[in-house]
């Protein structure tokens, strides 16, 4: 039989699997540090997310009558991983399972599987959980490194993950974003509330309350730079998100320093870093052109800043990403590259004068 194969007969050896695994590698430093910082319960939760993601991916593929090969492409693994990065580290098991199932089954496979989903599955899970289970999703544990005396052992951690052993109130508290937001409602200016919950060095290194992806800005940044170096992502989305967020914070805090947090606070707390490098850059749900990516990133930063400053939720990257995900098709429609030989308005260039 004649097999018609079109050119090219060469390839740069990239693959979906390689892309996904590189993202996982980039997440590894922050993850390992987070697991160290929050100990066994965090490890349990992390593994639970990964197992649920792979299991539900396999189940969905089986139900759809498709080959199980895509399980190994790393996309489900990455979804589970990212969810684990955004959960409170000592959350009970069902938070992890429900969230991951929601992400993979509803967020991805109901749309038709890899490449078809409109919304970022991990952010869908995070936002869904936050709205459905606000208490569990905002119980932030103090950093208790696995080697410290206060850290639970493996057996105790199983009880915590199983939800059978209540977490002592003394060990929990609000995240920096939550703390400042609550203070604002009590008319405490940010200039007073911020120093109590936030300092740049801690936020950079990560010794603060938050999810694993929200603690060490430095390690997330390193991972992001690794992705840029490996050309898995381009600079457009991260720079646009962080740049716009910093600019907005700079302008507002300059005008009204008691009411608005400074840029360093916006950039180093919450999921800003993780969002800019790992969530907003999700290829499936972000625009495909560089111009569109700049618009998309700026949009995320604007929405996030608005919700952080005036909304009722302390953290907003998840909402902002979902909001801009919904606009991705329209951004892609209007921000196309200029075609060779045409002007920006799409008319053929004039020939020699």
């Amino acid at each position: 039989m004649i097999q018609l194969i079109s050119s090219p007969h060469a390839h740069n050896r990239s693959s979906v699997q390689r892309t996904m695994l590189l993202v996982c590698v980039a997440l590894l430093p922050a993850t390992l540090y987070g697991l160290y910082l929050f100990g066994w319960p965090a490890i349990n939760l992390f593994l639970l997310c990964l197992i649920t993601a792979l299991g539900s991916e396999a189940a969905c593929l089986t139900l759809a009558g498709r080959s199980l090969k895509p399980c190994l492409d790393g996309s489900a693994l990455l979804t589970g991983w990212l969810i684990a990065m955004t959960l409170p580290p000592w959350a009970p098991w069902w938070i992890a399972v429900v969230g991951t199932l929601f992400a993979v089954v509803i967020g991805k496979h109901l749309y038709g599987g890899l490449g078809q989903n409109l919304f970022n599955p991990a952010m869908l899970a995070r936002v869904g959980l936050l709205i459905s289970f606000p208490v569990e999703m905002t119980t932030w544990i103090d950093p208790t490194p696995i080697t410290s005396a206060a850290a639970p052992g493996f057996v105790d951690s199983l009880l915590i993950t199983a939800g059978l052993s209540p977490i002592p109130d003394a060990m929990t508290g609000a995240s920096a974003l939550g703390h400042v937001k609550t203070a604002l409602t009590m008319n405490i200016p940010v200039t007073e509330s911020i120093p109590l919950a936030f300092n740049v060095a801690d936020a950079f290194i990560g010794t603060m309350r938050g999810s694993m992806g929200e603690t060490s800005a430095l390690l997330i940044l390193l991972g992001g730079l690794f992705l840029l170096y490996k050309r898995v992502i381009s600079w457009h989305i991260p720079v646009s998100v962080l740049g716009t967020l910093a600019l907005l914070a700079f302008i507002f805090s300059l005008v009204h320093p008691d009411r608005f947090e400074p840029p360093s606070f916006h950039l180093l707390t919450g999921a800003a870093m993780l969002g800019a490098f790992f969530i907003a850059t999700d290829m499936v749900t972000s625009p495909t052109t560089h111009k569109g990516q700049l618009v998309f990133g700026a949009g995320i930063a604007c929405v996030a800043f608005i919700i952080r400053s005036w909304g009722s939720f302390p953290e907003a990257i998840g909402f902002a990403v979902l909001f801009m995900n919904a606009l991705t098709p329209i951004i892609d429609r209007y921000f196309r590259p200029r075609i060779y030989g045409y002007s920006y308005s799409g008319k053929p260039l004039k020939s020699k004068e």
Binding site: I2, S7, H9, H11, G113, L114
Partner: protein, 520 residues
């Protein structure tokens, strides 16, 4: 200046050129049988001017270009006997056959006596173009468009710059590189003839900067002429595409739907320029070309000068044969070349390379769903959105694909080269382009049918009208005739009456004298 040399998008493919550049170009001998397809150029097939059984000499015209059409003539690569004029398997993935002249070589390699001697630089532009036409020269970079036609149209337009394309951006291929290293003088000499034919002010040879030896040789050869410039350009596929090369050298884009001449440029491949030199100075028509034989499955990768019509299998044997069964044999470069299902096909004018590729080189992987990563968008040198074009083409929405730039796609394959999902994008685009052109053909036919039907209707109506008019006229005539007849009748009757009256009068008169007489 730096901006000028940049092209948008593109890819830096693994070059793999070094393996075929370690030895000089080797001239291969004469194969026992040569198959010369009548159509090895863009356009219509040439008309054979020899018969089966004829003896031909090297360089003798065996098929001629058909007048005004886009066509190129063909010459005997060596002396021998025409054994068949019929169908042979074409160097095309379809395994379809094509009309060809088969020559059995006699091994004597008898040359045709050259004609009168003259100085080519004293010829008029039209004479140069005619001689290029007679030599059967086509664009040797791969497009195989008859060179003479480009010269003639170039002469009519205002061309400022003749760009010599020595970029050779396809991986593996080194035939132009080796030609520039070894025969730079000839290339420049041919280019100056082309310059004369089109009236260009200057010549710029664009050579990718991964070919320092070629740049050095060409610079040396060009040193004698003020208006010939050798311009190293960045190594980036598809720099060898005319549009991208013009952008890199002139800093201008060819307007959509326009031609190179719209920005005052004309692009010719270095090998074409060399062929022009050979045709005018050495009276040697296009009967051979340099072919890169490379790939992991080739025992000794190298460049060989082969006679056109040489079977690929014979050529591979001369290069030491295959070291392993190739996963894919490609004619041309790996980015835009075509697969060969069999090596029992002839080398044609456009064959720049024969690559026998092993599995690791082609990295064949099953396609997976698009993850919208946008790599293809960044890689596209034309500024298109390949993923959307493919999505629309896949669902038979060719107009949708057109909206994302299908018509401007140059099929360079940069998008498919970088696609992490291994989607055969070029395959979709070729299919969609084919569908669009058959749709155009259909609608053209439809229009023709419609206009014919309308013309027929109009003719019928006209005929009806004419008939009716004729009828009316006839009726009117008949009426007139009848009236005339009646009038005539009446007249006749009157005349009769008058006659009778006259007669009666006469009678009376005749009688009267009697009376008169009697009365008198």
């Amino acid at each position: 200046m730096f901006n000028k040399l940049k092209i948008r998008g593109g890819v830096h493919a693994e070059e793999r050129k070094e393996q075929s550049t370690c030895q000089p170009v080797r001239t291969l001998g004469i194969p026992p049988l040569l198959h010369l397809p009548l159509r090895q150029h863009a356009g219509k097939p040439a008309e054979p001017v020899v018969k089966v059984g004829d003896r031909v000499k090297k360089g003798q015209l065996i098929a001629t270009s058909t007048g005004e059409d886009v066509c190129a003539s063909l010459h005997a690569p060596t002396s021998g006997r025409v054994t068949a004029i019929g169908e042979v398997v074409a160097p095309h993935p379809s395994l379809l056959t094509t009309a060809a002249i088969t020559i059995e070589s006699d091994g004597l390699d008898e040359c045709l006596q050259p004609g009168e001697q003259f100085d080519p630089m004293s010829l008029t532009p039209a004479e140069i173009a005619d001689r290029v036409d007679q030599a059967g020269i086509v664009g040797l970079g791969g497009a195989t468009f008859p060179a003479a036609l480009k010269l003639k149209s170039g002469a009519r337009q205002k061309i400022d710059t003749l760009i010599l394309n020595g970029s050779e951006c396809e991986p593996y291929l080194t035939c132009d590189d080796m030609l520039m290293r070894e025969r730079a003088e000839g290339i420049i000499s041919g280019a100056r003839l082309i310059q004369r034919a089109i009236g260009a002010k200057r010549i710029v040879a664009g050579i990718e900067d991964n070919k320092p030896e070629a740049i050095a040789a060409m610079t040396q050869a060009a040193a004698a002429f003020d208006d010939v410039l050798v311009q190293p350009i960045p190594t980036r596929y598809p720099m060898g595409s005319a549009k991208q090369l013009i952008q890199a050298i002139m800093g201008r884009e060819v307007p959509a739907g326009g031609r190179s001449s719209d920005v005052g440029a004309l692009v010719h491949n270095v090998a074409t320029a060399f062929a022009v030199h050979q045709a005018l100075y050495e009276h040697r028509p296009l009967i051979s070309r340099i072919v890169t034989v490379s790939g992991q499955c080739i025992e000794q990768p190298q460049n060989v000068e082969v006679l056109l019509g040489t079977p690929v299998s014979w050529m591979l044997e001369q290069c030491g044969g295959l070291s392993q069964a190739p996963a894919r044999v490609v004619m041309g470069g790996p980015m835009m070349g075509q697969i060969l299902q069999t090596t029992e096909v002839p080398v044609t004018k456009g064959a720049s390379g024969i690559l026998a590729l092993a599995n690791p080189e082609i990295s064949k992987t099953e396609p997976s769903p698009c993850i919208r990563c946008g790599s293809c968008v960044s890689a596209c040198p034309m500024g298109l959105v390949p993923l959307e074009m493919a999505r629309h083409a896949k669902s038979d929405d060719f107009d949708g694909a057109k909206e994302f730039g299908l018509r401007d796609c140059i099929l360079c394959g940069s998008c498919a080269y970088v696609c992490p999902s291994h989607i055969p994008l070029v395959h979709y685009f070729q299919f969609a382009k084919g569908e669009l052109s058959s749709q155009r053909e259909q609608s053209r036919k439809g229009e023709l049918t419609k206009s014919l039907a309308e013309a027929r209707k109009a003719r019928k109506e006209r005929e009806e009208a004419e008939k009716a008019a004729a009828k009316a006229e006839k009726a009117a005539k008949a009426k007139a005739a009848k009236e005339a007849k009646e009038r005539a009748k009446a007249l006749k009757a009157e005349q009769e009456q008058a006659k009778q009256a006259l007669a009666a009068q006469a009678q009376a008169a005749a009688d009267a004298p009697v009376n008169e007489e009697s009365g008198s």
